[in-house]
């Protein structure tokens, strides 16, 4: 056995190796410390969903500004890289590929159910990011099938659940009608919603399906009148044909209360219903921009940043960015790498989390959704949706 004999060559080589290793090590550490965390987005800034997409885009940007101004996540800024998709699945996938070709993406915002379903197998294959988005499709609320996906609110069936629980409490045994569009979006909560209504001892007296955005609904209104429901829930529309439905129903002397789900609930959208808006109700997971009840420091902050009314789409983008980055923060706090499964575990560790009052109650995300919401009712005098119930947690 030969003993180690230091000589000049060995000392130089050893020193160089140590210096190299240190440089490499420090280099990595500093890159890690300052390297931005990327939030990518397929955002519908044009096309049929632009009414929400523009707000979503602004909401994400504003939350990230607040976060980055406060030092980012463990010293790392969050970089937002988005592309317009015009709400088309092929353009959304193109945007996903483009952004992922340019950046190391950890968090992603997707614009539609179709895109989420298309890209989830790729998310699973990559295992590098988690995704949320504009879709509240019930199908996506399945952590086994979509392990890296979540939604910043209740899924459509859970929205129906919140509405039906409210109805059961207000008027036990009430007669309920569902009016929905003949689309994947419209049909989403109908079967499970009907089962839940039965469970709550509510009678589903009519189910009416219409083309999306249909104009002439007179025969459907007659059908609704014959059923004479106490509550009518619309789903799968943004606006048309809801105003026409309500106007004709009121003209026929119907006394049904009319309700909607999240994407119908923007205050300016409801205002566009005109006279039909009076008394219109629906489910909202977040407080409205103008809500003053309870403590909501994050809403105060938003109002400081943007003195004008911000849409529900804005709030959805804002909250989604908050939850995505919270997942990243928890992952880094746990000393783990930002991989998809680690990020999802970080997200699922969220328990009784305060969103600064955006959700009216502390939230937990044990699965892929946040099953919380409150019923709001339109007050024509105030021209605002006003709270009509406490926060309902499923």
């Amino acid at each position: 056995m030969t003993a180690f004999e230091p000589n000049r060559r060995r000392i130089i080589a050893g020193t160089a190796a140590a210096a190299g290793a240190m440089a490499f090590g420090f280099g990595r550490a500093s890159a890690q410390a300052g390297a931005p965390i990327v939030l990518g987005g397929s955002i519908p800034l044009t096309g049929v969903f632009a009414f929400a997409g523009i707000g979503i885009h602004a909401g994400i940007q504003d939350y990230l500004k607040i976060l980055n101004d406060g030092g980012g996540i463990k010293g790392r800024p969050v970089k937002y890289v988005a592309e317009d998709t015009a709400y088309k699945v092929d353009a959304s996938v193109a945007a996903f590929n483009k952004i992922n070709s340019q950046e190391k993406v950890s968090l992603y915002y997707g614009d539609s159910t179709g895109f989420a379903k298309t890209i989830n197998s790729e998310l699973d294959r990559r295992g590098t990011m988690i995704m949320a988005g504009a879709s509240f499709a019930t199908e996506l609320n399945d952590p086994k099938k979509y392990p890296l996906q979540f939604m910043a609110g209740p899924d459509y069936t859970e929205m129906f659940g919140i509405l039906l629980r409210y109805i059961a409490k207000e008027k036990p045994g009430a007669r309920v009608a569902f009016v929905y569009s003949d689309t994947e979006f419209g049909r989403d909560p109908i079967v499970l919603g009907e089962a839940l209504a039965k469970e709550l001892k509510l009678a589903v007296v009519e189910k009416i399906v219409t083309p999306p955005g249909s104009v002439d609904v007179s025969t459907e209104v007659l059908k609704l009148r014959r059923a004479n429901p106490d509550f009518t829930i619309f789903h799968g529309y943004v606006l048309a044909p809801i105003p026409e439905f309500i106007t004709q129903a009121k003209q026929m002397g119907m006394r049904s209360a009319f309700m909607g789900t999240f994407w119908t609930m923007d205050n300016s959208t409801v205002q566009r219903m005109g006279d039909a808006a009076e008394g219109f109700m629906g489910v909202m997971p977040y407080r409205y921009y103008y809500d003053r009840d309870g403590s909501a420091p994050m809403l105060d902050r938003i109002r400081q940043m943007r003195p004008d009314y911000q849409s529900t789409g804005y709030l959805q983008g804002f909250v989604t960015a908050m939850l995505l980055t919270e997942a990243a923060k928890r992952t880094l706090d746990a000393g783990k790498d930002l991989t998809g499964p680690n990020l999802k575990a970080g997200l699922n560790s969220i328990k009784d989390f305060d969103t600064g009052g955006l959700f009216g109650v502390p939230i937990s995300i044990p699965g892929n959704s946040v099953p919380v919401g409150r019923i709001y009712r339109f007050d024509a005098k105030a021209k605002q949706m006003q709270p009509a119930s406490d926060w309902i947690k499923l």
Binding site: L45, T46, A50, I54, H57, A58, Q61, A82, E83, D84, A86, V89, D90, A91, V93, A94, N97, K98, N100, S101, G114, K117, T118, S121, R125, E139, D182, T183, E184, G186, R187, D188
Partner: protein
């Protein structure tokens, strides 16, 4: 200056590419197509595959509308037949992808024949409306049939070859691009046959064609069948590409897209269909780079320029229709003519 093409054999006379330059360009194109996936990012590969699918479908529509003169707004619906067939076969039977694609295309062709039956009695806008009606029926069927997953549609596994999944833009490129090239080559050759000549005769004057002994119904239905076969095959490729097929995957907008593609590219020319489909697919994407380049100067260029981009795209289409009514292919024809006649000018 080229003064003529001397042909000394029937083989030379029948050749699709009859000059050395054409053959050289073709070889260069093939080499580029082979090298491309090794140098391009997944984003560009994705766009190349999307272009190829759209070229395949637009070529089919070009045979029907550009060459036979039958206006159809049912191309997306025929694609959906191919896509759903492929998805059902892949999910339920797990049959090989090549067989699935052929069955999907065959079924689309059969439905195309059915939809084409009114073409003997109605033409122009009336036929377009008839094809829209067929699209609505197919959409209703797919969104209410349990086999096709109703409104939720179908999520399918990837195509497999020798147990290897073809699920990435790189591997999909090697499936989609060769199939599209074969389809385009097939269409170009078809037009030199009796069937293709009959299509053109029917387009130019159907009564004269019938007087010449061309059976109108059979020719029109053949055109519908071939066009739908192309659409079905393109739809099948689309299904393997996205792996989710829903009733909303193939809206009427898509049929208008393909019609616009062949009009912008140049109806009644194979190259026109290719150029139009590539233009309509790539230009909206390329316009996005404007916002990307401006972002360092103007941070929210993306949202500010999004509507501008849509207007620019629309204006480009209108501009081409006004200044190049024969389509993009005419630009290529002029370039060729310039070099053919050089040093003289037209």
């Amino acid at each position: 200056m080229r003064i003529g093409t001397l042909k000394t054999s029937y083989a030379a006379d029948e050749a699709l590419f009859d000059t050395a330059l054409q053959r050289g360009l073709l070889v260069a194109l093939l080499v580029a197509a082979v090298v491309f996936p090794f140098v391009a990012s997944p984003y560009w590969l994705f766009l190349a595959c999307l272009c190829a699918i759209n070229v395949a479908s637009a070529t089919g529509l070009n045979l029907l509308t550009g060459y036979t003169g039958l206006v159809s707004l049912g191309q997306a619906a025929f694609m959906s037949v191919g896509a759903y067939t492929v998805a059902v076969l892949e999910i339920r039977l797990g049959t090989p992808f090549a067989l699935n694609l052929l069955i999907g295309a065959g079924l689309a062709a059969a439905i195309g024949i059915l939809v084409g039956i009114p073409s003997l009695r109605v033409k122009g806008l009336y036929l377009a409306i008839a094809t829209i009606a067929a699209s609505v029926i197919l959409h209703f069927l797919f969104s209410h049939w349990t086999l096709t997953g109703e409104a939720r549609g179908l999520s399918m596994p990837p195509a497999r070859l020798f147990g290897i999944a073809i699920d990435q833009p790189f591997s999909l490129y090697w499936l989609i691009m060769p199939v599209t090239m074969l389809m385009v080559l097939g269409a170009a050759n078809l037009l030199r046959t009796r069937i293709g000549r009959a299509f053109i005769a029917v387009r130019d004057r159907d009564i004269s064609a019938e007087v010449l002994g061309i059976p109108l119904l059979r020719t029109k239905l053949t055109s519908f069948a071939i066009s739908s076969f192309y659409a079905g095959l393109a739809g099948g490729l689309w299904a393997y590409f996205f792996r989710v097929v829903t009733p909303e995957s193939f809206p009427l907008d898509n049929s208008i897209f393909y019609l616009a593609a062949i009009i912008v590219g140049g109806m009644g020319t194979i190259l026109g269909g290719i150029l139009g489909a590539v233009f309509m697919t790539l230009v909206p994407e390329l316009l996005k780079f404007g916002a990307n380049w401006l972002t360092p100067i103007y941070p929210d260029a993306l949202s500010a320029l999004a509507p501008v981009r849509t207007i620019v795209f629309g204006a480009l289409i209108v501009g081409f229709l006004i200044f190049e009514p024969r389509g993009l292919v005419e630009i290529w024809v002029r370039i060729r003519r310039f070099f053919h006649l050089w040093p003289f000018r037209t």
